[in-house]
């Protein structure tokens, strides 16, 4: 490995790094719980709709579940896939562009360019 500088962390640095990693891990678990929660809410709203629970009209539910989906995607990307960390400028740029086009194509399909 000619091109890699090996650096040995001191015990203090090492334990700091460990602590940081643990903290980050706890964060991840929290985000995971949030995702599970959002999923549960989405499913229960739809079940409520099926059961004709008053107040759960599709005009309310559909935007909400889409919003929840978008939030979940954000969580996956930013926490699970570490897009919040440094050195992810390029991934961000391309994922955002992809997401924009990927949003526009179905959008045009359901609105202006379809009948």
């Amino acid at each position: 490995m000619a091109d890699i500088q090996v650096y040995k962390r001191t015990p203090a640095e090492q334990s700091l790094a460990k602590r940081r990693a643990k903290l980050a891990m706890r964060n991840q678990v929290m985000m995971f719980s949030l995702m599970i929660f959002l999923t549960l809410v989405s499913f229960s709203m739809v079940v409520a709709f099926e059961k004709d629970v008053p107040g759960f009209s599709q005009y309310f539910i559909i935007p909400m579940i889409l919003l929840f989906a978008a939030v979940q995607v954000g969580l996956q990307l930013y926490y699970f896939m570490h897009m919040n960390e440094k050195g992810h400028g390029i991934p961000q740029m391309f994922m955002y562009t992809g997401a924009l086009f990927g949003f526009l194509i179905p959008l045009t399909f359901v609105t202006i360019v379809w009948w």
Binding site: A2, F101, L104, T108, I112, V113, W115
Partner: protein
Amino acid sequence: MSSVAQKKSFGATLWDWLTTVDHKKIGILYFLGGGFFFVVGGIEAMMIRWQLYKPNNDFVSAGLYNDLITMHGTTMIFLAAMPILFGFMNAIVPLQIGARDVAFPFINSLGFWMFFFGGLFLNISWIYGEVPDAGWTSYASLSLASEGHGIDFYAIGLQIAGGGTLMAGINFLVTIINMRAPGMTYMRMPLFTWTTFVASAMILFAFPPLTIGLFFLTFDRMFGGNFFDHQMGGNTIIWEHIFWIFGHPEVYILILPAFGIFSEIFSIFSRKRLFGYPSMVFATVLIGFLGFMVWAHHMFTVGLGPTANAIFAVATMAIAVPTGVKIFNWLLTMWGGSITVTTPMLYALGFIPSFVMGGVTGVMQGAAPLDYQLHDSYFIVAHFHYVIVGGVVLAILAATHLYWPKMFGTMLNETLGKVTFWFFFIGFHMTFLIQHWLGFWGMPRRVWTYMGDQGWDLANLISTIGAFFMAIGVIVLVINVIITSVKNVRVANDPWGDGRTLEWAIESPPLYYNFTATPLVRGLDSVWIEKMEGNETGLTPAEPIKDIHMPHGSIIPLLMTLGLFIAGFGAMFHSETNWGLPVLIFGLLWTFVSMAVRSLQDDLGYYIKKEEILRDMKALNKGGQK
């Protein structure tokens, strides 16, 4: 291994080319493969024009004519223009950013072989006798109705070639993102590199829809899908959308590298820095972005309704603005410069008026109600040949002359080059200018023949004569190439004398590891800067000479592609023969096993030792600049 030429047996040379992962060699392979298909597509074009030179001609039959236009369009776009541009990108871009290699040499080679075998697959249809015949757009109702295996060749061939393109795109992107030399910031990259970058990004986003579209087509035709069969609830307009979601960005994928090439040429041969570099970069990015927002302008007459048409019309016209910025920046690069009209410059000079004419007719088509008249008439044929031939092909011819010494170490003859230009340029305008009027006069495109006395006869004749001028031009170019290669007079690093970017500071052709020491970049046009400051080599090394890491060659890309190629035939014949399915499975397994071998191999490459580099340097200096 050494850069000093060794005599090799033919077999060894062949093996070397089949297994190469060197971006310069792959560049040459792309160039040759694309050149071959350009001639094929050109011959198809000549047959089209010959059929149309007079009314009621019966040189080809109706069915064959449709085969010809389909294969002409498909071949030219997918197998000629794009691969040739890839050839230049491969050969030049890593040099321009001061890299020793591309990011994924293996994938680079895989991309080439997939393009080449995809192209072969498509063209085998001529031998098999059932040829794609639904136009290069293959609109679904007709492509489903088309009998025989013609459209199957189209769907599978393009799928293979398209996969290769996607890989090439990702490879260029990562190369440019990660492998720039120290100091080569984004805003110091030469414009050809920038346009390669944006075009590759467009490939990344445009080719997946094509993949999906072709997948639908394949399934509808061969595996019982119902995406487009309206009797089963399918919808043919989905194909049109998907095709153009890919197809419109595709045309900018072609033109952007062409813009890049011309940017280099204007600045080299005007001996002047590119005027308004930042706005050139911005315009490139903007064109790339807007390119994804306008696809429905190919579908104004489909009946999408006034709102969709109005929105897409305005979006389409907006692209004129960044493109105009580019045109004027080129003009102002010339302004105040010191212009010398070499062959590449001659092409660049021919490009400006030709492309502007093609561009403005594009804007006219963008006016939706006007397009109701123009759509699918010869006006469209005129428009896109003006932008494609007047833009992309002129760029390809220009780059052929400009980069020939860098790729092959010898110069094409200037006089013959100019002869080619004039034949091609005059022939081009003669062929396509008059077609605008044919469109106005009511001549639809894709017609195999036409009745006399509708006022189209003379115009078609003129058009055909022009096409032959173009052919003469190309033939002169081929002669030029042959003569040059036979004479093989070696040239120095910077044969044009005014090179501004890194590729002109190293040997022609470069050593297989490109740079003996990675260069340090201190500004835009770094070689020019160095030379102005009195550094004759044009390079400042960023690091001492040290061992260089290089990838091994590999035959696996070729093998993987071969598997897909075989599987393609299996898929095509699986419903009518009993060998089809096994062959399909065999081919896919073949590919999968090759892939597995590759990933189990742990190919870590090898190192060129410092001593060897020093030896090469000494050899070069002693021999002087031959």
